[in-house]
Subunit: 511 residues, 2 copies
């Protein structure tokens, strides 16, 4: 078969300026001599080969001058990943399906994966050998049932697939929130408190996926977050902690690929969430991990029972990989802090660290509580001394000083830090007491207004659950930079402002 | 929100010569004024709109001259489906997910579909509103469990989505084989026999998907098969039967879309197979349907128990829609007839119809048996008179005459009918008796040789199960038109010829 293969005419690489996201896409002429185009159709899978170098890609066909008959066009991601200059001769053949897809097919039919199968699947996904459709088949096929062994194998395979950090210290602490609550930028307060105490907390965070801000987006208002592994290690050596973007450090890259398919499909499977989070923590070299599970009617978890089930999964995986996992449930009924969107959240964080009079109390209290748990991993603070120490570090200004040190060490990001110039106050339609605030609705509004792309877009809240409001009094203010986004966000807020205002006395305000 | 939407700048359509298969793909400049490219990434979904006309598409970005900043490039399928000329101004917005995807998500989490949800899903899929990834999620999510009600709703929704044929006759018969057996071109013998008797049999067939030939590909060697609905009706009025390609008549178009995703994923779910086949038969207006289920070690069904389960599903759906379904199991241990590939199979068919001395007996016998079942739907032939009547119509030349009439009525296809000029005989490596023949292996070999794209490529068998062979005696001959395909097929056949030749005496030859 090798002999037959070498008789195929070769094609010269042409770079095609086309961003095709994660997918490798190539274009050939329908009159190409190397592939009989009539055998192929758009979105067939093909294999590009030069010596030992192989790339799987999705094929598009053209019959005008986009590529010549002796050329193969590589769209940007494929060109970058194949890593050969334009003009390089390569061969192209119909792609054999990745062998690991047989396991996916068996899983869909009800079988379980072996650990070796999961390793092979994650290896293929990490090397871009799966099409989007094939990734979707893996995720959906695994969504209905995943055994404990499968969960462990998945977390392990994902952790192994990228950078694995090691720290020359016995205790490396970390925290993680499963997200869904607007604002809630506790990491940026917890890290400086814990680092000021001297515990090592090399925090990597994600950027927003469906929310108006991730910790990495908000930290970027204050400092650079796209540090290399070496730079990150230097910051941690100097400051005991850091606040960087995990994507740049290449922790669990398969996770980012899986999330990019889960997101458009709105897939949300507990086991996959746990494997995703734990793979990053294993790869990050954490020894002690605090998981924050907010529970509330519009949070990701709506009942304590759900939270309990998820807690057991986290603890199970943590035990297996030798990570001391502590899981706490927190109040997820409403946003934490007043700001929603990177600049507004960064203002909240600095207000809390600076002990400003108008700093949001809920963000301060939650951060102190989380920091207290982490500090008690220090044997000297065991048994309840964490909270007092956290408050001492915050109130004394030691945490603020530590944050400034971290910001200096990470360097300036050059981001704009101004707030959007288009503003609108959304007002209460009647007197009463705020009964509930819809987290999903506020997240959507802040995104409509432009967050996180526009760092200074978003929402500033004036009222929280239990607050008394008068008709016409502002509930919150929308900030945007662009008129069309401003109009969209205001129209959406006027249709549904996300607040439920109940009768002034009594009512059903939650405890 | 309408006001905000109209403030978006419009883009002018540019046609992009790029075949993207089923997916709608559009390209905009990363400096486009209509969409903030930094908000989008490759493979985001967008909505194109002109007045009431809407199209969902997958977005690619470019930053060179492929499209101008005030243009939107529509790849061929999107251009054709949107149906507006180049230069037409349109608006583009982020696409809202089709609402029916919520039901898919719920199904993945374990809920069942309602009939209304399935209607909405099939409507969205038929109108190209689902991406490949979303179709995969629907198929895989449904693969693990599908209730009887879901199966009925799916068959109904798919049948409703395209052309629905009606025939002004009380009895409209049809036959269908689930495929997998090389050769096996019984429809092309059954239809002329049944039509010669005077029963109505408007047969629509598919083209090959993963096999070396479908009935439509083989019939095309003899006549045109891409008839319009009107042309098809004329042929049936004149000849009582026809043999046309179902794809051109637009029967159950959602089925073709689903199959195009099932195929690369190698998905193979019983319920989806039954819904797919029955949707086409409901849409075709069949009143009586014979289903052929070949059973054999390398067939789609390997045990009688599997066949029984499938039979019950077919009967259940048939009962519900008022179609008299009869399901028979047939010998699926080896190819039926000697030819594999369109021209070779057409030669087998014409040899049987012409009562040639060397006509394959197995193809003749199986066709007579199937025709007998269909003929007994005529009240005058009830109770066992079908077989004698079928043989009479075949032996007398009436069936051949009817086939010639159908060929004339459908008109010439203009296809090449010669056999490939590259030939190689694959020979027995030792003396013995043929124990088994691997259907999957022979299908793959015939495809490697170029079938069905090259009509005259394929395989002619010289030996069947139970035949005695001597070392060096040819088992079959490979035909190909192109040297590289010839070499690939011969190399593959030498690695595994698909035949198991057992000891000359005794052995385990099947009865």
């Amino acid at each position: 078969m090798t002999a037959a293969r070498t008789t195929r005419p070769q094609l010269k690489i042409r770079r095609i300026n086309l961003d095709t996201g994660r997918e490798n896409v190539v274009v050939i002429s329908s009159r190409s001599k190397a592939l009989r185009a009539d055998v192929y159709r758009g979105f067939s899978r093909v294999e590009l080969r030069r010596d030992a170098k192989v790339l799987l890609a999705t094929l598009l066909l053209t019959d005008d001058g986009l590529v010549g008959v002796d050329e193969i066009g590589l769209a940007e991601p494929a060109f970058r990943r194949f890593g050969e200059p334009a003009g390089t001769p390569i061969t192209i053949t119909p792609a054999a399906r990745p062998a690991s897809l047989d396991a996916v097919r068996a899983k869909i039919q009800g079988r379980s994966f072996t650990a070796a199968e999961i390793d092979a699947i994650i290896d293929d996904i990490t090397h871009y050998r799966y099409s989007d459709m094939e990734i979707a088949a893996f995720l959906v096929g695994s969504a209905s049932f995943m055994s404990s062994d499968e969960l462990l194998a998945l977390a392990h395979a994902m952790a192994q697939a990228g950078t694995q950090l090691t720290w020359d210290r016995p205790i490396v602490v970390d925290k993680h929130c499963i997200g869904g609550i607007p604002g809630n930028r506790t990491s940026m307060i917890v890290v400086p408190i814990v680092a000021a105490h001297g515990l090592t907390i090399p925090k990597t965070s994600s950027r927003a996926i469906t929310s108006p801000a991730g910790t990495a987006d908000t930290m970027e208002v204050l400092a650079r977050v796209d540090l290399s592994v070496e730079e990150m290690k230097e910051v941690v050596a100097a400051c005991h902690g850091c606040l960087v973007w995990g994507g740049h450090v290449n922790l669990s890259p398969a996770d980012d690929i899986l999330i990019s398919v889960e997101r458009p499909l709105s897939l949300d499977t507990r086991e996959q969430m746990v494997a995703s989070i734990m793979s990053k923590k294993i790869a990050a070299g954490s020894t002690h991990l605090l998981i924050d599970l907010p529970v509330g009617p519009s949070a990701k978890l709506t009942t304590a029972a759900e939270a309990m089930r998820l807690r057991k999964l986290f603890e199970f995986v943590g035990d297996h990989f030798g990570i001391a996992v502590e899981v706490i449930t927190t109040d997820g009924r409403q946003p934490i802090g007043n700001g929603i969107g990177p600049v507004l959240e960064a203002q909240d964080v600095m207000a809390v660290l600076g002990n400003a009079a108008d700093a949001p109390r809920d963000l301060r209290e939650k951060s102190l509580r989380l920091a207290a748990h982490l500090l008690e991993y220090d044997p000297e603070l065991r048994g309840g001394k964490g909270y007092a120490r956290a408050r001492e570090l915050l109130d004394s200004g030691a945490a603020l000083k530590q944050m400034e040190k971290i910001i200096d060490a990470q360097g300036p990001s050059g981001c704009r830090t101004d707030l959007g110039s288009f503003t609108a106050d959304i007002k209460a339609t009647h007197d009463g007491i705020v009964d509930s605030i819809d987290c999903l609705c506020l997240n959507r509004l802040a995104r409509s207004a432009g967050a996180p792309i526009d760092k200074g877009a978003g929402i500033r809240l004036f009222k929280k659950i239990g607050d008394r409001v008068a008709q016409g009094e502002p509930l919150y203010r929308i900030y945007a930079f662009e008129e069309s986004q401003y109009e969209l966000a205001v129209a959406a807020a006027n249709a549904n402002n996300g607040y439920l205002v109940g009768p002034p006395s009594g009512g059903k305000a939650a405890p």
